[in-house]
């Protein structure tokens, strides 16, 4: 009944609009088409000005409403991201100037030069001087943007500092696995053919490689503040993307082709809670490449903490090797409870 009512109102609305449109045609025939055309011209010329003014107010108002919700006010979570923020703001400023000048000219001219019997249009087919001016100015501006952009680009995509912490992150439908290299600082070898989820080896780690024995596997990424971190990114099935909006970083996870990115976290999660005034603040890993029906729930969490907190957390982690082969674990005699947390994220989305 309610649906019918809505449909009836919509139909009525269209009928009214249509009748007005029809009527306007009859009126124009009565009044003379030329006169109606001129009247329409005046109305639309005025609307050009109205659109310009309301548009400028709207742009300002939108900024009032939403600037606070962007990531600018809270600052970049990473040192490198600050440069990206600066670069963004500079680009916004330059493009903003061009935007306002061109839009104002466009709609102002439209309003000002609307048809009038008094005006003769100015025959002005070309002017090479003007063309040269507005080829050169954009070219110079863009050169500046390119130079600074590439400077940051090469820095960000270049090698991380030598002391960078290495963390491996692997995407799969639909979740993230995190691996640390343990005390030896070297990741044990992996081979996707060794994948055996029922046996607990969902990453395909080669446990015959002794370097894998101290590797630690977690679902949450913990990072010490102030220390550069390099992520080594894998995917097991389709293309995913490690999106880190707070750190201004992003890199695809491609099956068969490992990728990397690095950054230096500069605020702990606790500090960010204060900066944002949001007690629930958390650094999130968002999958930014369409990866299937659970794409929107492919969420990971990064906890940035002080060096001491990080070390304490790390000390509590048990190497995956010992979890899977408890008999090899020198520290315990009794096998621990089965650790199934790794798959918890995957179960978030279940058809």
């Amino acid at each position: 009944m309610k649906d019918l009512f809505v449909v009836a109102i919509v139909v009525m609305f269209f009928l009214v609009v249509f009748q007005i449109a029809k009527a306007s045609e009859y009126v124009s025939i009565l009044k003379g088409e030329e006169k109606t055309r001129k009247q329409n011209n005046k109305i639309n010329g005025f609307l050009m000005l109205v659109f310009l003014v309301l548009g400028l107010i709207g742009a300002w108002w939108c900024n009032e409403l939403y600037y606070g919700k962007t990531l600018f006010p809270q600052g970049s979570g990473s040192v490198e991201g600050e440069e990206i923020d600066t670069m963004l703001l500079v680009t916004i400023a330059i493009c903003g100037v061009v935007f306002f000048i061109t839009q104002i000219l466009l709609f102002w001219f439209s309003y000002k030069y609307q048809e009038s019997d008094k005006r003769k249009p100015y025959f002005f087919p070309h002017n090479n001087k003007l063309e040269v001016i507005w080829t050169t100015i954009p070219a110079i501006t863009l050169t500046v943007l390119i130079v600074f952009g590439l400077k940051f680009w090469f820095k960000i995509t270049g090698d991380p500092p030598k002391d960078a912490l290495m963390v491996e992150i692997t995407g799969h439908q639909f979740g993230w696995d995190i691996r640390y290299s343990g005390k030896d600082g070297i990741f044990g070898k992996k081979n996707y053919k060794l994948y055996n989820k029922p046996a607990g080896n969902s990453l395909g780690v080669d446990f015959n490689d002794p370097e894998s024995h101290d590797d630690i596997r977690t679902t949450e990424m913990h990072l010490p503040v102030g220390r550069p971190v390099k992520l080594i990114i894998h995917s097991q099935d389709v293309i995913h993307d490690v999106g880190l909006p707070h750190f201004r970083m992003k890199m695809d996870a491609v099956p068969g082709i490992p990728t990397t990115l690095w950054f230096t976290p500069q605020y702990t999660t606790a500090q960010m809670k204060e900066r944002t005034g949001n007690p629930n603040f958390v650094y999130e890993i968002a999958c930014d490449q369409m990866c299937g029906k659970g794409h929107f729930s492919m969420r990971g969490v990064i906890v940035v903490e002080t060096e001491e907190e990080y070390n304490a957390w790390m000390a509590k982690q048990k190497p995956e090797y010992y979890a899977l082969f408890p008999d090899k674990d020198p520290s315990t005699a009794t096998p621990p409870a089965a650790d199934t947390t790794q798959t918890a994220i995957a179960q978030v989305v279940n058809p």
């Binding site: 609009v17 449109a21 029809k22 306007s24 639309n44 709207g58 939108c62 919700k69 962007t70 990531l71 670069m87 680009t91 061009v98 839009q103 466009l106 709609f107 030069y113 249009p121 100015y122 025959f123 002005f124 087919p125 003007l130 063309e131 507005w134 080829t135 954009p138 863009l142 390119i146 952009g149 590439l150 940051f152 680009w153 960000i156 989820k197 097991q236 099935d237 389709v238 993307d241 999106g243 909006p245 707070h246 201004r248 970083m249 992003k250 890199m251 695809d252 491609v254 099956p255 068969g256 082709i257 990728t259 968002a286 930014d288 490449q289 369409m290 029906k293 794409h295 929107f296 989305v349």
Partner: protein, 600 residues
């Protein structure tokens, strides 16, 4: 060359006379399997309008989910059955809708519907030819498009659903049925449909190029062509050179899906199974895809640029400013269009040095784009503007092109793209610059040339309401998305409520959905106006209603097959003699007078 052209003109002219004298066309040969470029153009247009309705409706349905993630809409279950159990879209079908929306709008509406319609309609009329170089290939191009449409439409009705990996269909997601239901039979249909579509585009493009180069009437040198023709020429060149690359990508993907090859697959474990594929590269597909995918956005926007240039000049009663600069900038855009594709791939692990080259080339495109904008604005300056519906659309086009073009400077700069890639900033950018603005070019073209197409006018009042509401609505929808993009909100999410970083935009998402529904409803005014006016519109009494100089207005109000009843007129000047020597306009067919100032 000119003698060849006039020879051709004369011979067809005789054929045309015979045609009228002895033969009545049947309904089928006149309206269905027609070889008249004007009829084929209308076929493209009406099919395009159908697809635009479908594609737009899909966006409204998935916007409902984004705007009201917790609500249920029982009518959706009536409409979509098990795709929306209990009135709530399933994520699978949400992604299928998103994918279909993109595919339909980019290829079926803004490529076939836009350049298909206006290349067919305007090229012979504005260069002064009786028809296309090959009317038969022209007809085939429409029917290949038609079959492609049927195949794509049929994929909506298969049990596992249509393709759902995004319109860019990146493998491995699109290659593996185990990775997604949409990558089962629906994906094969998508690829087959696309292959047929590409055949259609190639047939059409070769025809357009040949016609423009070889069939111009006497006196119509290349530099006397209206800018529409230049734009459609470059569009066709882009299509012919880049679509085959997508075809190869589509064929290889079909092989990977069905024949066990490994072009794009390597090291994959999916649904608990280790796949035997080794040695392929998922990134290779992206290169093949974007080698077409980027020129594709110019294939979409160039016809809109050309038509807007023409319409702005006609209605400002002034010559287009900087004709040669306009042609030159379109030429530059065409060349650069082939050299920027990898800017879609800055975060795929691309070699940073290669990335830097693509930054340079991408931002270079902003220069010719800027030239065009300044030239349009200068054309309006000191004009005597008539706000026909087409003119308002063209001004809207320029405004949208500025807004969307400037955000391209952000995304083309790799360092910024790292942050903005695949966020709503991208959605805002390309919807404004190649979605809505190309639509405004298309609307402008329809409003402007409707009298030539059907011998009737569209209703002005409905047109004004439609245009202003669409322009305002488009900005209301897409402007705030720049802010969600700055907040890092990823695109293609079914639901944001589980995310601490993005859930504060719930209210905004609802607002955008409401505006999107209104804007979609307003398009019904256009569709109604279009079809109503074909049959009941006010009749055109003046063969040149807009007082334009170009050749199409020298034909009779309802031109028959062959366009001009007598000789094809000879051209003596360029197409932009508006306001010269105090005259309102001088048609291209008027010989240059002895006392005329040099002007152009």
């Amino acid at each position: 060359m000119s003698s060849v052209v006039s020879l051709h003109g004369t011979t067809t002219h005789h054929a045309h006379d015979d045609h009228h004298g002895h033969h009545h066309e049947s309904f089928i040969s006149k309206y269905v399997f027609s070889m008249d470029h004007k009829t084929i153009s209308k076929q493209f247009l009406i099919t395009g309008i159908f697809w635009a309705f479908v594609g737009g409706l899909f966006s409204v349905i998935f916007r409902l989910q984004l705007g009201y993630p917790d609500a249920t809409f029982p009518f959706l279950e009536d409409l979509l059955g098990h795709w929306a159990k209990g009135g709530k879209l399933s994520p699978d079908f949400y992604y299928a809708l998103v994918t279909m929306h993109g595919t339909i709008l980019v290829f079926f509406v803004l490529t076939a519907g836009l350049s298909g319609t206006f290349s067919n309609f305007l090229i012979p009329l504005q260069v002064g030819a009786r028809d296309m170089a090959s009317p038969l290939l022209n007809m085939l191009s429409y029917w290949f498009f038609f079959i492609a449409s049927i195949v794509l439409l049929s994929s909506l009705f298969v049990q596992t659903g249509p393709a759902s990996g995004g319109w860019t269909v990146y493998p491995p997601l699109s290659a593996l049925g185990d990775a997604s239901d949409g990558s089962k039979i629906g994906m094969d249909l998508w690829l087959i449909s696309m292959a047929l579509f590409i055949v259609s585009q190639l047939l059409a493009g070769l025809n357009y190029i040949t016609t423009i180069l070889n069939m111009r009437t006497k006196g119509m040198s290349m530099t006397r062509l209206p800018l529409t023709i230049w734009a459609l020429f470059f569009t066709a060149v882009l299509g012919v050179l880049s679509f085959p690359v997508l075809l190869s990508g589509a064929v290889l993907l079909l092989f990977d899906r069905n024949l066990g090859t490994s072009f794009f697959l390597s090291d994959i474990v999916v649904a608990g199974k280790v796949l035997p594929n080794e040695g392929g590269s998922a990134i290779l597909f992206q290169h093949l895809f974007w080698f077409l995918g980027h020129p594709e956005v110019y294939i979409i926007i160039l016809p809109a640029m050309g038509m807007a240039s023409e319409i702005i000049a006609v209605n400002s009663r002034k010559p287009i400013f900087g004709y040669m600069a306009m042609v030159g900038s379109m030429f530059a855009i065409t060349i650069l269009a082939f050299l920027v594709w990898a800017h879609h791939m800055f975060v795929t692990g691309l070699n940073p040095f290669l990335g830097a080259i693509f930054v340079l080339l991408t931002l270079l495109i902003a220069v010719p784009s800027a030239i065009k904008v300044f030239n349009w604005i200068t054309t309006i300056w000191r004009g005597n503007i008539r706000f026909t519906p087409a003119m308002i659309c063209s001004i809207g086009f320029v405004s949208l092109f500025i807004s969307g073009g400037l955000t391209g400077i952000f995304l083309g700069n790799a360092a910024l793209d790292i942050h903005l890639h695949d966020t709503y900033f991208v959605i805002a950018h390309f919807h404004i610059v190649m979605g809505v603005s190309a639509f405004f070019g298309m609307f402008a073209g329809i409003y402007h040339w409707f009298p030539k197409m059907y011998g009737r006018y569209m209703n002005n009042t409905l047109a004004y309401i439609h245009i202003w509401a669409t322009l305002i609505g488009a900005y209301l929808i897409f402007w705030p998305m720049h802010y969600t993009g700055f907040a890092g909100m990823p695109r293609r999410y079914f639901d944001y409520s589980g995310w601490e970083s993005f859930k504060m935009f719930t209210g905004l998402n609802e607002f955008i959905t409401i505006v999107a529904i209104i804007v979609f409803a307003v398009q019904m005014l256009f569709i109604f106006n279009f079809f109503y006016s074909i049959f009941k519109g006010r009749k055109v009494t003046d063969p040149n209603p807009w007082k334009a100089t170009s050749l199409e207005w020298t034909t009779p109000i309802n031109p028959g097959h062959g366009n001009w009843p007598g000789e094809i007129p000879e051209v003596h000047r360029w197409a932009y003699d508006y306001g010269k020597d105090g005259k309102d306009f001088i048609p291209q067919t008027t010989p240059v007078g002895a006392d005329e100032s040099k002007g152009h």
